[in-house]
């Protein structure tokens, strides 16, 4: 059993114009076996939620709690959160020149598992994970995210999801900028992960397109730092037809 519980979360960010309140009381419970989609217009705070869960230093939690299986996530460092079972697939994965994908994956796997992966099966596992994300085995010799196309970056995130096997996956606009083939590869990766049964998925997206391939159990509409409405998969269909306008107007 894993439960990611977010309660009345308030988050600020420091900008040039002073401190800005982004999240204004978010409450959300995500259990294993569930896929939640968070949808909302630009600037509604979706990505802030993702990065706050992962512990990015740019965001300051001014109120509320996040727990994973009852343990305080906000007390953990960024790497402790990952070792506790949280994974964030980023919208803009960062380039690390000179560090090979192979070295990076092995170091991450060793950190998460607390021991080095078995040499004999590891290479096979890496190639399988890359292959499942439609990436060539030679990919592991390239520097992390350096010179990757937009699609390669996202597929590399999904390959990591498969290898690191977390409890909770947070996907921050992983669908943005993908063509239809890449979108299918990414969706299949997320579905494979979710099919393990004891996994939770928090899918953050601007568009309904990816929800044709990943079926959410719950849909939350995010507007102005709060959840404006919640429902099942049918809410996404409704959003596709009507857009975010009525929620945005209501929030003003």
């Amino acid at each position: 059993m894993s439960i990611l519980q977010i309660t009345d979360l308030h988050v600020t960010v420091d900008t040039d114009d002073g401190t800005k309140q982004i999240l204004k009381g978010v409450t959300l419970t995500i259990k294993d076996g569930e896929t939640h989609a968070i949808m909302g217009p630009n600037g509604s705070g979706k990505s802030t939620l993702a990065y706050t869960i992962a512990g990015h230093p740019k965001y300051t939690v001014t109120g509320g709690t996040i727990t994973l299986d009852g343990v305080d996530v906000l007390e953990m460092s960024v790497d402790e959160r990952a070792r506790a079972g949280l994974f964030l697939a980023m919208q803009y994965p960062v380039e690390i020149p000179g560090v090979s994908v192979a070295n990076f994956l092995r170091t991450a796997k060793t950190a998460i598992d607390g021991e080095a992966p078995k040499l004999r099966t590891w290479v096979k596992d890496v190639n399988a994970a890359l292959g499942a994300a439609d990436l060539d085995p030679t990919f592991s010799q390239r520097s992390v995210n350096e010179g990757f196309s937009g699609g390669e970056k996202k597929r590399h995130e999904i390959a990591q999801l498969g290898l690191l096997n977390p409890k909770v996956a947070v996907l921050d606009e992983t669908d943005s900028g993908l063509d239809i083939d890449a979108l299918k590869v990414v969706s299949e990766g997320v579905n494979r992960f979710a099919a393990n049964g004891d996994k939770a998925v928090l899918l953050i997206t601007h568009y309904t397109r990816i929800l044709r391939y990943i079926k959410p159990d719950f849909v939350h509409v995010f507007v102005n730092g709060r959840i404006a409405e919640q429902g099942g998969a049918e809410l996404a269909d409704q959003l596709e037809a009507t857009g975010y306008d009525k929620y945005v107007k209501a929030a003003v």
Partner: protein, 397 residues
């Protein structure tokens, strides 16, 4: 009028302002009497702590060497210490005309020359590795080294400095027409060594010359790596890697003199600093002379600050006398760790220290791959690892 035309006009009008001579136009002389000891106020000496040079730049006695020099001689290569007429005949082989007292003194006074001679058209697969092992940090001494590469030859020469010494050195390199040459100078000295060295290379027609300067050890290392071209079409790749610990002064200056048309140069120097009083200096001088039409040049210096209390100086300097060029540019960046890189790695469970270690490794590996000398690659990676063990992994930073 296109943008290029405007740029040309502005260069042209700048040139009409009358000639202002920068320090990139020294006259030079072989006569020791024409030179004076530096005071530290000169543009080319102002970053160097002269007091720690043990007089190497001024009046130190050049004693008998206590540095042991050994080498391998792959087939077809001649390596030996020559004296007398032959040694004298090699002075200035690279067109080097000293603009410093120590350079003039070395050419005039040092009796022997260490010569690495690669004949025309020789293709030497195995690197020539010259080991210079110092044994006395207080013995001021001087050396003259000549690397002569014949026409269309292919070779790699590594000068590896270890141990303790107080060494003033001139390295002259002549790259024959069409040759493809790589020279690595590795300063892996003990902590008490002092090394003042000048490398002067003359690159032949359509030849390619790669020079790699790597400095880890020593109390004070100052290397000037200069390049000129004997004819059009030559290219120079200038690489550098340095790592300064507490109290160390590591200074790299390069000067590419584009004196011929259609020549190329590309310089990439990367450094890291850690510990109180670690001091690095990088000066990248590039001169594009009026005759040097159609050239391209780019120089880049990147520094990674690993702890508080360090001092990093980086000065790219481009002097252009003609607008008729293909391209010219420079970049310099000095920073602490990139927070986004660390966040990305840590979000995959990697601890902060391990993430820092990966980032520094990556920073240098990028460059080590470009050196492309497998014989020393493994050792370089290990040396970087050892340097990091001193601070980044070992202690809080």
């Amino acid at each position: 009028m296109t943008v290029t035309d405007i740029a040309r006009d502005s260069v042209a009008s700048a040139l009409e302002q009358g000639k202002v001579e920068s320090h990139l136009h020294p006259s030079g002389s072989y006569d020791v009497a024409d030179h004076t000891a530096p005071t530290g106020r000169e543009e080319v000496w102002r970053f160097t702590p002269l007091k720690r040079l043990k007089g190497l730049a001024s009046d130190a006695v050049f004693n008998a060497s206590t540095t042991e020099i050994t080498w391998n001689t792959p087939d077809g290569v001649r390596v030996e210490t020559v004296v007398g007429e032959e040694a004298r005949g090699l002075r200035g082989l690279s067109g080097y005309k000293p603009s410093t007292l120590f350079g003039a003194r070395i050419l005039a006074d040092v009796p022997e020359t260490l010569l690495v001679d690669v004949p025309d058209e020789a293709e030497v697969a195995e690197p020539v590795i010259v080991n210079l092992v110092g044994s006395d940090a207080d013995n001021t001494e001087a050396g003259h080294v000549v690397l002569r590469f014949g026409k269309f030859s292919k070779a790699v020469v590594v000068l590896r400095h270890t141990g303790s010494a107080a060494l003033a050195q001139v390295v002259e390199i002549s790259v024959g027409d069409g040759a493809q040459i790589s020279v690595v100078s590795l300063q892996d000295w003990a902590d008490d060594a002092t090394h003042l060295t000048q490398t002067e290379a003359l690159v032949g027609r359509d030849a390619s010359y790669k020079h790699t300067a790597i400095s880890f050890g020593g109390d004070l290392v100052r290397m000037d790596a200069n390049v000129r071209y004997a004819a059009p079409g030559g290219s120079a790749e200038m690489l550098g890697l340095y790592f300064a610990d507490a109290g160390q002064h590591i200074e790299h200056r390069l000067f590419v003199d584009h004196n011929e048309p259609k020549t190329k140069s590309n310089a990439v120097y990367k450094g890291a600093l850690q510990g109180k009083g670690a001091h690095t200096v990088w000066i990248g001088n590039v001169l594009i002379r009026k005759a040097a039409e159609g050239i391209t040049t780019f120089e880049e210096n990147r520094n990674l600050i690993l702890t508080d209390g360090t001092l990093c100086e980086s000065v790219p300097n481009l002097e252009i006398e003609t607008g008729e060029i293909e391209g010219a540019g420079h970049a310099s960046a000095t920073a602490r760790f990139d927070d986004e890189q660390l966040f990305y790695l840590r979000s995959r469970g990697i601890s902060e220290k391990e993430a820092q270690r990966l980032v520094v490794h990556g920073f240098f590996n990028d460059l080590i791959r470009k050196i492309d000398v497998p014989a020393i690659e493994e050792q370089l990676v290990k040396t970087v690892e050892d340097e990091l063990a001193k601070n980044v992994i070992g202690k809080n930073i």
